[in-house]
Protein backbone atom coordinates (compact mmCIF):
# COMPACT_ATOMS: atom_id res chain seq x y z
CA UNK A 1 0.00 0.00 0.00
CA UNK A 2 2.63 2.45 1.17
CA UNK A 3 4.76 1.47 -1.75
CA UNK A 4 1.94 2.14 -4.19
CA UNK A 5 1.33 5.61 -2.84
CA UNK A 6 5.00 6.35 -3.05
CA UNK A 7 5.06 5.13 -6.62
CA UNK A 8 2.08 7.30 -7.48
CA UNK A 9 3.77 10.31 -5.93
CA UNK A 10 6.95 9.75 -7.86
CA UNK A 11 5.02 9.32 -11.06
CA UNK A 12 2.93 12.47 -10.66
CA UNK A 13 5.93 14.51 -9.63
CA UNK A 14 7.89 13.12 -12.53
CA UNK A 15 5.12 14.05 -14.90
CA UNK A 16 4.88 17.54 -13.54
CA UNK A 17 6.02 20.21 -15.90
CA UNK A 18 5.27 23.91 -15.72
CA UNK A 19 2.03 24.24 -17.62
CA UNK A 20 2.43 26.27 -20.75
CA UNK A 21 -0.71 28.31 -20.40
CA UNK A 22 -0.45 30.16 -23.67
CA UNK A 23 -0.65 28.05 -26.70
CA UNK A 24 -3.25 29.84 -28.78
CA UNK A 25 -2.28 29.69 -32.37
CA UNK A 26 1.12 31.31 -32.20
CA UNK A 27 3.62 29.46 -34.31
CA UNK A 28 7.29 30.33 -34.31
CA UNK A 29 9.82 29.16 -36.84
CA UNK A 30 12.64 30.00 -34.44
CA UNK A 31 12.51 28.04 -31.15
CA UNK A 32 14.41 30.84 -29.40
CA UNK A 33 11.60 33.21 -30.28
CA UNK A 34 9.11 30.79 -28.85
CA UNK A 35 11.04 30.71 -25.58
CA UNK A 36 11.16 34.51 -25.58
CA UNK A 37 7.41 34.63 -26.15
CA UNK A 38 6.70 32.32 -23.22
CA UNK A 39 9.05 34.25 -20.97
CA UNK A 40 7.61 37.62 -21.94
CA UNK A 41 3.99 36.59 -21.44
CA UNK A 42 4.99 35.35 -17.98
CA UNK A 43 6.64 38.59 -16.83
CA UNK A 44 4.16 41.04 -18.34
CA UNK A 45 1.22 41.85 -16.14
CA UNK A 46 -2.37 42.14 -17.27
CA UNK A 47 -3.61 45.70 -16.62
CA UNK A 48 -7.20 44.48 -16.30
CA UNK A 49 -6.95 41.52 -13.95
CA UNK A 50 -4.13 42.84 -11.94
CA UNK A 51 -2.82 39.72 -10.28
CA UNK A 52 -2.35 37.70 -13.40
CA UNK A 53 0.28 37.79 -16.07
CA UNK A 54 -0.86 38.02 -19.65
CA UNK A 55 -0.17 34.34 -20.20
CA UNK A 56 -2.68 33.32 -17.53
CA UNK A 57 -5.29 35.98 -18.07
CA UNK A 58 -8.23 35.48 -20.36
CA UNK A 59 -9.18 39.17 -20.45
CA UNK A 60 -9.47 40.70 -23.88
CA UNK A 61 -6.62 43.08 -23.18
CA UNK A 62 -4.38 40.11 -22.34
CA UNK A 63 -5.31 38.47 -25.64
CA UNK A 64 -4.42 41.64 -27.47
CA UNK A 65 -1.15 42.04 -25.60
CA UNK A 66 -0.14 38.47 -26.39
CA UNK A 67 -0.89 39.09 -30.03
CA UNK A 68 1.17 42.26 -29.88
CA UNK A 69 4.10 40.48 -28.22
CA UNK A 70 3.89 37.84 -30.93
CA UNK A 71 3.90 40.30 -33.79
CA UNK A 72 6.68 42.38 -32.23
CA UNK A 73 8.86 39.28 -31.82
CA UNK A 74 8.09 38.31 -35.40
CA UNK A 75 9.32 41.71 -36.46
CA UNK A 76 12.61 40.80 -34.85
CA UNK A 77 12.31 42.93 -31.73
CA UNK A 78 14.35 41.87 -28.70
CA UNK A 79 12.81 41.06 -25.34
CA UNK A 80 13.95 44.37 -23.90
CA UNK A 81 12.35 46.23 -26.78
CA UNK A 82 9.04 44.45 -26.26
CA UNK A 83 9.08 45.27 -22.54
CA UNK A 84 9.89 48.90 -23.34
CA UNK A 85 7.04 48.97 -25.86
CA UNK A 86 4.55 47.79 -23.24
CA UNK A 87 5.92 50.08 -20.53
CA UNK A 88 5.53 52.96 -22.94
CA UNK A 89 1.81 52.29 -23.09
CA UNK A 90 0.89 50.84 -19.71
CA UNK A 91 3.60 52.21 -17.43
CA UNK A 92 6.06 50.44 -15.13
CA UNK A 93 3.08 48.63 -13.71
CA UNK A 94 2.91 46.26 -16.65
CA UNK A 95 6.29 44.67 -15.90
CA UNK A 96 6.59 42.54 -12.79
CA UNK A 97 10.08 43.78 -12.01
CA UNK A 98 9.86 47.31 -10.62
CA UNK A 99 12.51 49.84 -11.62
CA UNK A 100 14.74 51.24 -8.86
CA UNK A 101 13.57 54.78 -8.17
CA UNK A 102 13.45 56.95 -5.07
CA UNK A 103 9.99 55.60 -4.31
CA UNK A 104 10.85 51.94 -4.76
CA UNK A 105 14.42 51.85 -3.40
CA UNK A 106 12.91 51.34 0.09
CA UNK A 107 11.74 47.88 -0.89
CA UNK A 108 15.36 46.82 -0.84
CA UNK A 109 16.77 49.36 1.63
CA UNK A 110 14.32 48.94 4.51
CA UNK A 111 15.09 45.29 5.31
CA UNK A 112 18.83 46.03 5.18
CA UNK A 113 18.46 49.10 7.40
CA UNK A 114 16.33 47.07 9.81
CA UNK A 115 18.84 44.23 10.10
CA UNK A 116 21.85 46.53 10.43
CA UNK A 117 20.25 48.68 13.13
CA UNK A 118 19.12 45.60 15.02
CA UNK A 119 22.64 44.18 14.90
CA UNK A 120 24.00 47.50 16.13
CA UNK A 121 21.69 47.46 19.14
CA UNK A 122 22.41 43.85 20.00
CA UNK A 123 26.19 44.32 19.80
CA UNK A 124 26.09 47.47 21.87
CA UNK A 125 24.06 45.76 24.55
CA UNK A 126 26.46 42.86 24.72
CA UNK A 127 29.59 44.96 25.00
CA UNK A 128 28.19 47.18 27.74
CA UNK A 129 27.06 45.17 30.74
CA UNK A 130 24.49 47.20 32.64
CA UNK A 131 26.14 49.16 35.49
CA UNK A 132 25.16 47.93 38.86
CA UNK A 133 24.41 50.96 40.91
CA UNK A 134 25.41 49.26 44.17
CA UNK A 135 25.15 52.34 46.34
CA UNK A 136 21.61 53.12 45.36
CA UNK A 137 20.55 49.54 45.83
CA UNK A 138 22.13 49.37 49.27
CA UNK A 139 20.31 52.50 50.31
CA UNK A 140 17.06 51.04 49.09
CA UNK A 141 17.67 47.85 51.02
CA UNK A 142 18.47 49.76 54.17
CA UNK A 143 15.31 51.78 53.87
CA UNK A 144 13.29 48.61 53.54
CA UNK A 145 14.97 47.13 56.56
CA UNK A 146 14.13 50.22 58.56
CA UNK A 147 10.52 49.92 57.50
CA UNK A 148 10.46 46.35 58.71
CA UNK A 149 11.90 47.37 62.05
CA UNK A 150 9.31 50.00 62.71
Amino acid sequence: MMKNIFLLLVLTLGLYEPALAVEDSYAFADPAQRVAFLELTAVLRCPMCQNQNIADSDAMIAHDMRRKVYSLLKEGKTKQEVIAYMKDRYGDFVYYKPPVTFATIWLWALPVIFIVSLMYFVIRRRSQPPEQDIDAKLKQAEAMLKQDDS
Partner: protein, 205 residues
Protein backbone atom coordinates in the same frame (compact mmCIF):
# COMPACT_ATOMS: atom_id res chain seq x y z
CA UNK B 1 16.92 60.57 30.79
CA UNK B 2 16.42 62.30 27.44
CA UNK B 3 18.12 59.45 25.68
CA UNK B 4 15.80 56.96 27.30
CA UNK B 5 12.80 58.98 26.30
CA UNK B 6 14.07 59.02 22.74
CA UNK B 7 14.43 55.26 22.72
CA UNK B 8 10.93 54.90 24.09
CA UNK B 9 9.59 57.15 21.37
CA UNK B 10 11.04 55.07 18.53
CA UNK B 11 8.38 52.33 18.63
CA UNK B 12 5.67 54.95 18.96
CA UNK B 13 6.93 56.84 15.91
CA UNK B 14 7.26 53.60 13.97
CA UNK B 15 3.74 52.68 14.98
CA UNK B 16 2.34 55.96 13.74
CA UNK B 17 4.23 55.67 10.46
CA UNK B 18 2.75 52.22 9.98
CA UNK B 19 -0.74 53.46 10.83
CA UNK B 20 -0.34 56.30 8.35
CA UNK B 21 0.85 53.92 5.63
CA UNK B 22 -1.96 51.42 6.18
CA UNK B 23 -4.58 54.15 6.52
CA UNK B 24 -3.62 55.49 3.13
CA UNK B 25 -4.03 52.00 1.72
CA UNK B 26 -7.70 52.07 2.69
CA UNK B 27 -8.38 54.77 0.14
CA UNK B 28 -5.96 53.90 -2.61
CA UNK B 29 -7.40 52.41 -5.75
CA UNK B 30 -5.16 49.78 -7.33
CA UNK B 31 -6.89 50.37 -10.64
CA UNK B 32 -5.76 53.98 -10.66
CA UNK B 33 -2.76 53.64 -12.93
CA UNK B 34 -0.57 56.45 -14.05
CA UNK B 35 -1.56 56.93 -17.61
CA UNK B 36 1.29 57.05 -20.05
CA UNK B 37 -0.87 58.89 -22.59
CA UNK B 38 -1.17 62.15 -20.62
CA UNK B 39 0.52 65.04 -22.34
CA UNK B 40 1.36 63.06 -25.45
CA UNK B 41 -0.11 63.59 -28.89
CA UNK B 42 -2.62 61.03 -30.06
CA UNK B 43 -0.64 58.09 -31.50
CA UNK B 44 -0.75 57.68 -35.25
CA UNK B 45 -3.52 55.56 -36.70
CA UNK B 46 -5.54 55.04 -39.83
CA UNK B 47 -8.94 53.54 -39.11
CA UNK B 48 -12.33 53.37 -40.83
CA UNK B 49 -15.58 54.94 -39.75
CA UNK B 50 -17.76 52.39 -38.00
CA UNK B 51 -20.86 53.13 -40.03
CA UNK B 52 -19.19 54.00 -43.29
CA UNK B 53 -15.98 51.96 -43.70
CA UNK B 54 -15.10 53.84 -46.87
CA UNK B 55 -14.23 56.89 -44.77
CA UNK B 56 -10.86 56.73 -43.06
CA UNK B 57 -9.66 58.82 -40.15
CA UNK B 58 -6.18 59.51 -38.86
CA UNK B 59 -4.79 61.30 -35.81
CA UNK B 60 -5.26 64.73 -37.42
CA UNK B 61 -9.02 64.38 -37.09
CA UNK B 62 -8.69 65.72 -33.53
CA UNK B 63 -6.98 68.97 -34.50
CA UNK B 64 -8.98 72.14 -34.19
CA UNK B 65 -11.57 70.86 -31.74
CA UNK B 66 -11.58 69.94 -28.07
CA UNK B 67 -12.68 66.31 -28.10
CA UNK B 68 -13.61 63.64 -25.62
CA UNK B 69 -12.65 60.34 -27.16
CA UNK B 70 -14.88 57.68 -25.65
CA UNK B 71 -13.71 54.07 -25.84
CA UNK B 72 -16.77 51.85 -25.88
CA UNK B 73 -18.58 48.80 -27.23
CA UNK B 74 -22.09 47.40 -27.23
CA UNK B 75 -20.99 44.56 -24.99
CA UNK B 76 -20.00 47.04 -22.26
CA UNK B 77 -22.71 47.53 -19.65
CA UNK B 78 -21.22 50.63 -18.02
CA UNK B 79 -21.08 52.28 -21.45
CA UNK B 80 -24.83 51.85 -21.78
CA UNK B 81 -25.29 53.36 -18.34
CA UNK B 82 -23.30 56.50 -19.09
CA UNK B 83 -24.67 57.01 -22.59
CA UNK B 84 -27.79 59.01 -21.63
CA UNK B 85 -25.66 61.41 -19.58
CA UNK B 86 -23.14 61.84 -22.38
CA UNK B 87 -26.01 62.52 -24.79
CA UNK B 88 -27.33 65.12 -22.39
CA UNK B 89 -23.89 66.76 -22.28
CA UNK B 90 -23.81 66.88 -26.07
CA UNK B 91 -27.26 68.44 -26.25
CA UNK B 92 -26.91 70.93 -23.42
CA UNK B 93 -23.25 71.91 -23.49
CA UNK B 94 -22.34 70.99 -27.03
CA UNK B 95 -19.58 68.64 -25.86
CA UNK B 96 -17.75 67.10 -28.79
CA UNK B 97 -17.71 63.32 -28.33
CA UNK B 98 -16.01 60.93 -30.70
CA UNK B 99 -16.35 57.20 -30.18
CA UNK B 100 -13.48 54.75 -30.44
CA UNK B 101 -15.40 51.58 -30.97
CA UNK B 102 -13.99 48.13 -30.55
CA UNK B 103 -15.72 44.83 -30.51
CA UNK B 104 -15.00 41.90 -28.30
CA UNK B 105 -16.35 39.22 -30.53
CA UNK B 106 -14.60 40.45 -33.61
CA UNK B 107 -11.45 38.71 -32.49
CA UNK B 108 -8.84 38.74 -35.22
CA UNK B 109 -7.80 35.27 -34.06
CA UNK B 110 -11.24 33.76 -34.20
CA UNK B 111 -13.36 36.29 -36.10
CA UNK B 112 -16.99 35.31 -35.94
CA UNK B 113 -19.03 38.48 -36.31
CA UNK B 114 -19.73 40.34 -39.52
CA UNK B 115 -19.41 44.09 -39.76
CA UNK B 116 -23.07 44.55 -40.63
CA UNK B 117 -24.09 42.75 -37.47
CA UNK B 118 -21.88 45.03 -35.40
CA UNK B 119 -23.41 48.05 -37.13
CA UNK B 120 -26.92 46.78 -36.40
CA UNK B 121 -26.11 46.31 -32.74
CA UNK B 122 -24.59 49.79 -32.53
CA UNK B 123 -27.58 51.43 -34.23
CA UNK B 124 -29.90 49.58 -31.91
CA UNK B 125 -28.02 50.63 -28.79
CA UNK B 126 -27.68 54.27 -29.83
CA UNK B 127 -31.37 54.55 -30.62
CA UNK B 128 -32.17 53.16 -27.21
CA UNK B 129 -29.82 55.18 -24.99
CA UNK B 130 -29.13 58.28 -27.08
CA UNK B 131 -26.27 59.07 -29.39
CA UNK B 132 -23.58 61.35 -27.94
CA UNK B 133 -21.12 60.79 -30.81
CA UNK B 134 -20.24 62.97 -33.75
CA UNK B 135 -18.85 59.84 -35.37
CA UNK B 136 -17.34 56.52 -34.38
CA UNK B 137 -13.87 55.33 -35.25
CA UNK B 138 -13.72 51.58 -35.61
CA UNK B 139 -10.62 50.13 -33.97
CA UNK B 140 -10.80 46.88 -35.91
CA UNK B 141 -7.76 45.11 -34.45
CA UNK B 142 -7.72 47.11 -31.21
CA UNK B 143 -4.19 48.28 -32.01
CA UNK B 144 -4.98 51.93 -31.37
CA UNK B 145 -6.56 51.05 -28.04
CA UNK B 146 -3.35 49.29 -27.12
CA UNK B 147 -1.30 52.30 -28.21
CA UNK B 148 -3.48 54.50 -26.02
CA UNK B 149 -3.02 52.23 -23.01
CA UNK B 150 -6.69 51.27 -22.85
CA UNK B 151 -7.42 48.50 -20.36
CA UNK B 152 -11.14 48.09 -20.99
CA UNK B 153 -14.28 50.09 -21.53
CA UNK B 154 -15.50 52.68 -20.91
CA UNK B 155 -12.46 54.94 -20.95
CA UNK B 156 -12.19 58.57 -21.97
CA UNK B 157 -9.44 60.70 -23.41
CA UNK B 158 -9.68 64.46 -23.21
CA UNK B 159 -7.90 65.79 -26.28
CA UNK B 160 -7.15 69.47 -26.76
CA UNK B 161 -7.47 71.35 -30.03
CA UNK B 162 -3.81 70.64 -30.83
CA UNK B 163 -4.45 66.89 -30.76
CA UNK B 164 -2.64 66.35 -27.45
CA UNK B 165 -4.14 64.04 -24.82
CA UNK B 166 -4.67 65.98 -21.60
CA UNK B 167 -6.51 63.46 -19.47
CA UNK B 168 -7.10 59.73 -19.47
CA UNK B 169 -10.15 58.87 -17.43
CA UNK B 170 -10.77 55.18 -16.75
CA UNK B 171 -14.39 54.39 -15.99
CA UNK B 172 -17.65 56.10 -16.78
CA UNK B 173 -18.48 59.79 -16.81
CA UNK B 174 -21.40 60.52 -14.53
CA UNK B 175 -22.61 63.76 -13.01
CA UNK B 176 -20.13 63.67 -10.15
CA UNK B 177 -17.12 62.81 -12.32
CA UNK B 178 -18.11 65.52 -14.80
CA UNK B 179 -18.46 68.14 -12.08
CA UNK B 180 -15.28 67.35 -10.19
CA UNK B 181 -12.84 65.93 -12.72
CA UNK B 182 -13.61 65.98 -16.42
CA UNK B 183 -15.81 69.07 -16.76
CA UNK B 184 -13.38 71.64 -15.30
CA UNK B 185 -10.55 70.52 -17.58
CA UNK B 186 -12.90 70.46 -20.57
CA UNK B 187 -13.90 74.08 -19.91
CA UNK B 188 -10.24 75.00 -19.47
CA UNK B 189 -9.34 73.43 -22.81
CA UNK B 190 -12.21 75.28 -24.49
CA UNK B 191 -10.88 78.52 -22.99
CA UNK B 192 -7.36 77.65 -24.17
CA UNK B 193 -8.67 77.04 -27.66
CA UNK B 194 -10.49 80.38 -27.72
CA UNK B 195 -7.41 82.20 -26.44
CA UNK B 196 -5.27 80.57 -29.12
CA UNK B 197 -7.75 81.56 -31.82
CA UNK B 198 -7.86 85.14 -30.63
CA UNK B 199 -4.09 85.19 -30.54
CA UNK B 200 -4.05 84.00 -34.15
CA UNK B 201 -6.51 86.67 -35.24
CA UNK B 202 -4.44 89.35 -33.58
CA UNK B 203 -1.44 88.03 -35.44
CA UNK B 204 -3.34 88.34 -38.69
CA UNK B 205 -4.17 91.98 -38.21
Amino acid sequence: MNKKLGLLLIPLVLFFLLVFFLFQGLFSDPRQLDSQADGKPVPGFSLPDLMDPATTYDQDVFKGEVTILNVWGVWCVTCAVEMPFLTQLRQQQDVHFVGLYFDQDLDPDFGTKTLSRVQDEVTDMLSRYGNPYQFNIFDVYRDTSLDLGVTGAPEHFLIDSQGVIRMHHIGDINERVWKTKVGPLYQQLIAEKKAAEQGLHKGDE
